[in-house]
């Protein structure tokens, strides 16, 4: 599907989503509460068939966190980006590891680096950081570590 066709199709699925212009790929902003239902459609709908989740990441904007998912379809060769704003003090979003197995590790990395809680994740614990880092999120902008960090 072309970007325009994708936009029409996705608008039918989720009318409340807003779209960003000017990017390489179609980008839609959604509310965290709509995520589970939309993800299911993205994965299973025959016309969409986004079977490859190639990037999961998070950005700390100081005012809020933003989850970013990149999907592509190896069958239809189209790509979409999904973004969702999260509350910085209590970031929670539904896991998509049941639809895309790769999200398991990606979400664990976002969990340890940004402290985002993935609801219903099968195994939400630290991925790369060693023991003792629970609750400390080094990729947050206000992260301080007086022992290991030298501030410029």
């Amino acid at each position: 599907m072309t970007t325009e066709e994708l936009k029409i199709k996705l608008s039918e699925l989720l009318s409340v989503a807003t779209y960003e212009e000017g990017g390489e790929w179609l980008t839609l902003n959604i509310e965290p509460k709509d995520w589970l239902a939309l993800a299911k459609q993205l994965r299973n709908d025959e016309q969409l068939f986004f079977n490859y989740l190639f990037c999961v990441t998070c950005v700390d904007w100081k005012t809020h966190l933003s989850m970013i998912y990149h999907f592509t379809s190896t069958k239809h060769r189209h790509t979409v980006v999904v973004k969702s704003k999260l509350d910085r003090n209590n970031p929670e979003i539904e896991t998509v590891s049941h639809f895309w197995r790769t999200a398991d590790f990606h979400e664990r990395e976002v969990y340890e680096m940004f402290g985002v809680k993935f609801l219903n994740h099968p195994d939400l614990r630290l991925l790369i950081l060693p023991d003792g880092w629970e609750g400390k999120n080094p990729m947050r902008k206000d992260f301080e570590d007086p022992v290991n960090m030298i501030r410029l």
Partner: protein, 177 residues
Amino acid sequence: MGDLKNIETTFPGEIHEAPGGGIVLSKLDDIINWARSNSLWPLTFATSCCGIEMMAVASAKYDFSRFGFEVARATPRQADVIIIAGTIVNKMAPVLKRLYDQMADPKYVIAMGACAISGGPFFYNTYSVVKGADHVIPVDVYIAGCPPRPEALLHALMTLQQKIKAGLTREQIRSSD
């Protein structure tokens, strides 16, 4: 006689001419250092982009075998020198220490590039990088660069050889006291 002159410049010792040939006089320590310095096998250890330069130095174009760094060994038990080629993070530090401890004496360390010297581009504002590999293990030779040219690594390897021949490595100084 030309051959003997050549020996005098590369081999530690004095030549005393005698009828029917010559006698070389030397010290056992010097001969051991000479032998050791000309057979230094590095450990296969690289943690980032400096490792690519190190591989280039091992390959045919630069070829550190020419200087006695014959072949990189994949086990610390058979290695004489560890070239710290890349960033050392806090999680890697205990592994580096363990590899160093497993190497048989005499052993030498070269810190290659800005990361191994001081943390380099990761000195500021990072929680995970060791600010210099010499916080973990003692270093004999440092090479500046990010990453250093292959020629710079060759120069460092030869500097290490000179250091060993002169008896000026840390262990040699300690054992001579």
